[in-house]
């Protein structure tokens, strides 16, 4: 599903050159649930951003569904992200001025779908994460766990084949974290969604199919 070949990422300033990722090669199979662990600053989020086509590597190739992605232009990349990938972030990234249902509808705004279709899909996604009774609430009226469930609904509303989650339980207590993890596991098990999750929590990582450890930008396991 996702294939990374010799990925390197170097951040350069006028005086400093930082090697964020060093020759990472990785295959993520369709329907796999991969977790990535490592100390802060080891390049986990950078790797996830590269997989999500939010950032370009300095060197190497990325293939998603056997399609070379580095040559895609801005429009095609946006289209690719919109159709293939769902993102979940540690800090949720919900728009506080929009109701829950409008937040969930957001990815569909960039597709040719009707308002009715958008509303139906968003409502279905919210039902799936157990928030059908909160659709007209604003994010500021929700708890952290509920916000992350809204973010998950937003990630799955467009029925992507891949979900990239960057520390989705990082801001939550263990009970809430478990709740979110259960939702992700169910999405993986029932819908066959490929999930790559960055986490600091070994308990969460243990529940996934495979663990990738990074240290100083290099793959250690």
């Amino acid at each position: 599903m996702i294939q990374l070949k010799n990925i390197e990422k170097v951040y350069r300033t006028d005086t400093v050159e930082t090697q964020a990722l060093n020759s990472i090669s990785l295959r993520v199979a369709k329907g796999e649930f991969l977790s990535i662990m490592g100390p802060s600053g080891c390049g986990k989020s950078t790797l996830l951003n590269i997989m999500g086509l939010l950032d370009a590597p300095s060197k190497g190739d990325i293939l998603i569904d056997n399609q070379q992605t580095l040559s895609l232009n801005d429009r095609k990349l946006a289209n690719f992200r919109n159709n293939k990938i769902g993102f979940i972030f540690q800090s949720y990234h919900l728009i506080n001025d929009l109701q829950v249902v409008d937040n969930v509808e957001l990815p569909l705004l960039y597709r040719n779908s009707s308002a009715k279709e958008r509303r139906e899909l968003a409502t279905a996604a919210l039902e799936k994460v157990g928030l059908s009774n909160r659709i007209h609430h604003f994010p500021t009226q929700l708890s952290g766990g509920q916000k992350q469930r809204v973010a998950i609904a937003r990630a799955i509303v467009g029925r992507p084949e891949i979900i990239l989650a960057d520390e989705p339980t990082g801001n939550l207590d263990s009970a809430m974290g478990n709740e979110i993890m259960n939702i992700l596991l169910e999405l993986n098990r029932v819908d066959g969604t490929t999930i790559v999750m960055v986490t600091h929590d070994p308990n969460m990582a243990q529940r996934t199919h495979r663990l990738l450890r990074l240290f100083d930008g290099s793959q250690v396991q």
């Binding site: 989020s45 950078t46 951003n49 999500g52 939010l54 950032d55 801005d74 429009r75 946006a78 289209n79 992200r81 919109n82 159709n83 993102f87 972030f89 800090s91 990234h93 728009i95 001025d97 929009l98 409008d102 957001l106 990815p107 705004l109 960039y110 597709r111 308002a115 937003r154 467009g158």
Partner: protein
Amino acid sequence: MLKHLFKLIWNKKKENFLLISEILISFMVIFAVFTLLVYNYQNYAVPKGFEEENVWSVDLGELNVSKNKDSVGVLHENLRNVLKNLPEVKAISYASANVPFSNSMFTSGTGYKGIRINVDVNRVEDDYKQVLGLSLLSGRWFSPEDNGLAKSTVILNEEAKERLFGKEDAIGKMISDGSSKVIGVIQNLKDKSDFKAPMPAIYTRIDTGKINQMNQILVRVAPGTTAAFEGKMYKMIASTIKSTNLEIKHLSDMKAEKNKETIIPMIIFFIVTGFLIINVALGIFGVLWYNINKRRAEIGLRRAIGATSSAVSTQLLGEALVIATFSLIIGSFFAVQFPLMKVFDLPTSVYLLAQFFAILFIYLLVVICALYPGKQAAAIYPAVALHEE
């Protein structure tokens, strides 16, 4: 997407209140500017109805003769003969003091079948038409056949004819309670300034009974007549009439002076408005700039979930236009009250055109102000913006 933008702006109405108010106030000021511009332009575009180039206005001042009308009449005839013998003089006409672009006014009431209007009254001679190059629309101009008639003959301008008779033919009709007969209709004369709408006017022949009040002459001279000739003519008139305060002015100079009365206040108004527009532009620019910096994470998110960089800048532009639309809807409500309540008695078309131009101007201003911040937003790198939060 439009519904989404409306929802987004509506849910942030408190934050956008100041900007909406600022654009609303600007719209009202720009509406006033365009009302003035459209009104003045419409007046400017109206045909002048006469040719002021090479026409001089001679103010005879206080005549140093007996007030006896015969003496004045003799003096006038002597002067006419002196001037007519000059090869540079093409035509002359005595007239009442309210010649084109003068500061004098002479208004009176007239009426026809219950319709009463105020008109500018111009006392003129038979050669007045030739001096100013007037265009006759119907009927005839004054001629010797009007001598000694029981009822006086008058000529109306188009405006007076429209107000008194509408579509009806005016020629041969009696006005002013049957005391005057209309013999002709001429094109309106824009004789107050290039920017003043023509008023209803009536032209009557100089009454010999009031000849001592006629101390103004309009002289048409040959094109290219020099200042040296003007000096020579001045001396000749002065020696003929022995006037103490004789004055010769060119109608084109008098027009320029009158035009200044409109142009100078307009320039001052435009300068003040210009500063306001700069303020508003900076306001819109600042708010959009601030929004982008405040909303970097949101912009990053939108990019992550499928927005292209152009979609992001289009969205910001769209938001600015939606905010402007809120202001313009409120502003238009106030603007339409002007023609409905006939606030300044201007034609409705002036207000509607001014409103249209003001709306267009505001949208253009918003687009210009949103372009650069929109471009900046499009350049936000999603991976960086999402990581900042």
